[in-house]
Amino acid sequence: MRKAIAAAVAAAGATAALLLIRRRRGHGRLRLRRGIAALRLAARGGARYASNAPRLFAAAGENRQQLRNDLALQTAEDIADTLGAMKGVLMKLGQMASYVDDGLSPAVRRTLSRLQDSVPPMSPELAAGVVTEELGQPPDRVFARWDPEPIAAASIGQVHRAMTHDGRAVAVKVQYPGIAESMAADLDNVSLLRRMLKVTAPSQDVDALVTELRDRVLEELDYRREAENQRLFAAYYAGHPTIGVPAIVGELSARRVVTSELSTGARFAELATWSQEERDLAGETIYRFVFRSLYEAHAFNGDPHPGNYLFHGEGRVTFLDYGLVKYFTDVELEPLIHMVRDLCVANDPEAFRRAMEEAGFLVRGAPLSTDLIVDHMAVFYQLVRESRPLTITPDYASAVVRRFFDLRSPVAAYVAIPRSYVILQRINLGLFALLGELNATANWRAIAEEIWPFVQAPASTPIGEAEAAWRAERAGASGTAMR
């Protein structure tokens, strides 16, 4: 278990490891190992958090709800006790780690992903207080109907059902009061975090990583940003045949409250019980969503967490949670496009290597043969190197992660992830884990060719045809970045 969790440590950890190796190659091996040990600590604290709480509630039997109510966070002090002094930050890191898998059983991974469940909900009064402060009136006035019982835990908050005065069913995410300030303060003092990465200053790379982590987590603390992200995605995918994005109700959203259209559908665990055909279609839509957003909208929703999807059958998927979105500039995106084009389409390994070097993924002039580099990187591109149906198995997903964490490879010492792509890596690993759990099969190359801006192939599947029709209808939308 411990080893497994060690490996499950955030993509952040992996990235840190790679950065460290690059700088400290030779004498830095020990430091690297200790860096991983320290991050493992974060995951360990988080992981066991998660495995304990459900047992307590399960043991309570029919008193479960009562127990949850009795344990509810009633005051800002309760929240500080539960999530203050780094615990909120650890939980967030653990959450980031929760879908990165190196031989983790699905059960353990689910346990990790339930991390948030270990934090009791806010009492109805506490949640109502936050709504009142943010929206000016208590929730039963702001909304026509307000369900004081939360329906789900959310990132540093919880979700309530409500009905607006104009009759729309909505989901209202309410943030724990004080949590943003406490996590921001913990993240402001990054020396512990930096030492957990076990690096002595000055190291530009680690500073960049710590800064990126801090910035991304801080962004998630402001729900207005999330609302803006979601609004952009909803506008972009309006009318899409299989991709759904709940609309934001802007006038009922603020820094600690975000209101969106209520979506219902099957959860990821339920999808896993559906036919393989349904799972394949859902996998296809998730894949299209991720890469359409990246290549065409230049935006990446950074949270491929099983809890962030609702499934409606026939490949229709609603994508929830836009707390962690990364926008790319053309300049940032270009090297990625070059890499995939040079390796998979042009089949030009030397050009691929140059693209990696230009993007900062690979140290220039590394004393390695290009064959070796291509061999090392191939696993990340395996899905799209050949045009034929491929099944993403859990084994394959694990192999991708293992390669990512493979510090013994001679290539690893020369590979790094520039700061702009930290989140991208996180998503890639999470995406593979997710599709692996579905055992999803598709001709991923053919789908990718539809999306790749340098190919723009015709539709290869029924969903692709519906998508092509949608695109044809959206005049002027194609190739337009979200911002």
């Binding site: 600590l41 360990r44 604290g45 066991r48 344990l71 002094a85 780094m86 650890l90 913990d186 020396s191």
Partner: protein, 296 residues
């Protein structure tokens, strides 16, 4: 004095956690000697409690007779982790257990103390672990350390709550065999007593060795050791200057940034502790009872 080497500190977190869990009852017959509305329960759950415990041990060790008793009789050298775990288990039972459990635990400790007598080789003075004067030193340093650590790293107590805590803790003093009326019942009384005991104190080789071990226990998990280094920093930062001087440490200053960092480390340590089997449930049992008391 034996020259036996100290055993490694493997399993410190695991065994302390298990002892703590065992001390927090699932079905208490009563609220024990303090109860969920007490200051004692708050201090026992305070973020600063690891610093408090280690600070108390460092002060206690400066009493040569108290130190000699531990060094010559207990399993401190052969199983220091077991000894620390047993102590934290005892404190959990006294604090959170019902009266019967607290009495049983205290009776066990008093029985053990009866057999601990001898002569300190350094001062040449005879000692007995059941001597109220020694017990009082141990008691008073623990109580004061709880207040001091909460002040710097946890939730500071108001002056009234500080007095209440000292008064509440006289129950623990009596349980362990200190005659009623002897343990200070106010913060001022506690501080007077601590000052009056200063002439008794000195750093014996046994104390120096013990505390060097405690501040940097070999064999800790690497990741726990990383956090332990910050906790050690916290302990030194809140030791009285005279105690630092006796141990040969330079005066410490605690910047706000360092204070925050130590608090964060304590939070991480707490999360690790919380991850041990049963700890979260034990915490929740305590939380539920404190909530009920708050609402009553």
């Amino acid at each position: 004095m034996t020259a036996e080497a100290y055993a490694a500190a493997e399993g410190l977190v695991e065994r302390s956690a298990a002892a703590y869990v065992a001390g927090v009852p699932e079905y208490p017959a009563d609220d024990g000697y303090y109860g969920p509305a007490s200051v004692t329960w708050r201090v026992a759950g305070d973020l600063g409690r690891s610093v408090a415990g280690l600070r108390a041990l460092m002060l206690q060790a400066l009493h040569p007779l108290a130190m000699a008793g531990v060094d010559q009789h207990s399993n401190w050298r052969s199983d220091p982790v077991g000894r620390l775990a047993a102590t934290s288990g005892y404190l959990a039972t006294i604090s959170f257990g019902d009266r019967a459990a607290a009495q049983r635990a205290a009776a066990r400790v008093r029985r053990v103390h009866e057999h601990i007598t001898g002569t300190d080789t350094i001062t040449g003075r005879p000692y007995a672990a059941s001597d109220p004067a020694l017990l009082l030193w141990v008691h008073a340093t623990l109580v004061e350390s709880g207040i001091v650590a909460a002040e710097s790293f946890g939730t500071p107590l108001s002056a009234e709550d500080g007095d209440r805590y000292v008064a509440e803790m006289t129950a623990a003093a009596e349980l362990v065999g200190i005659p009623p009326g002897l343990a200070p019942a106010s913060l001022a009384g506690l501080r007077d007593y601590l000052a009056s005991a200063r002439p008794e104190l000195r750093l014996t080789p046994a104390a120096a060795e013990s505390m060097a071990y405690l501040l940097d226990p070999p064999g800790l998990d690497e990741d726990v050791a990383e956090i332990w280094a910050d906790i050690r920093g916290g302990v030194l930062a809140v030791l009285p200057p005279w105690a630092l001087e006796m141990y040969g440490y330079p005066p410490q200053s605690l910047t706000q940034a360092r204070q925050t960092e130590i608090r964060q480390a304590l939070g991480v340590f707490d999360a690790v502790f919380l991850g041990e089997p049963g700890v979260l449930e034990a915490r929740q049992r305590i939380t539920l009872r404190m909530r009920a008391a708050r609402q009553a």
